[in-house]
Symmetry: C2
Subunit: 132 residues, 2 copies
Amino acid sequence: MKYLDKLRNSGLRPTKQRLQICEILFDTEKTFHFTINELDKKIKDKIDDKISLATIYNTVHAFEKKGYLKQIPINSNQIYFDTNVTGHHHFYDLKDGKLIDLENSDVGPINIKRKINGKKIKSIEVLVKLEE
Amino acid sequence: MKYLDKLRNSGLRPTKQRLQICEILFDTEKTFHFTINELDKKIKDKIDDKISLATIYNTVHAFEKKGYLKQIPINSNQIYFDTNVTGHHHFYDLKDGKLIDLENSDVGPINIKRKINGKKIKSIEVLVKLEE
DNA sequence: ACAGCTATTTAGAACCATTATAAAGTAGAG
DNA sequence: CTCTACTTTATAATGGTTCTAAATAGCTGT
């Protein structure tokens, strides 16, 4: 199994549910953005077994903690997750609420001149809002 | 009254509630960040009259629509608003969930090389996450 | 100042994403 | 195979936000 070791190596038991969710999230050519609600629908579509909503939340949070997913900082009534965990940025189309990846090469280097004592920068995320 | 014209000029009736909220939001030397919950507490503290929670929501959204407030794009269970509506960015301290302003001069110019057909850039917002 | 119209406020209910709970099930170590 | 800790599950609870419908208050024209 493709994801058995991935899960075991990160201290997560490779349960049937987690393996199935792995396939939906990571067995794709392209990375993508999703909300829990969208993931739930995709699971219902692609998998015969039922996975409880609570498990979907648990799994997504576990994967996020392990660095396999990340949240996209955006104001919305639901949380957006990204299967692309490399440093990159987003366009946010205000008209239809869609997110579009901005590759790192699409954005010039970002220079943060100010320092905060005792803290270090974990990530820099740019959101570019688009209008008509 | 200081905010009477501001409200009237933007087509908002200057009601007692709106004027009182204006004083709390805009009658300060420094701009600040807040959630609805925090604003509600501040109103209870500083004002004798009661303002209903629904009115606080209505007013904040009305002010946002008029450009007197803006939302800060960040994943949180509640929406963060900013009384500083000029283009600027934020540090987000992951430890305590606090936001710190980054003046425009603290961040070098940001160059977005990619274009989306038929769309134009409305805003560019940078969130710098801090850890220990 | 008054009437009439429309915007606004209000309390409370409704909504909905997310989290908590506690019982049943399952993986892995020995 | 057994024991234990981890996981899943259905369901309830939580909490921020929005909706509703009735009461109130600005505003315009007279």
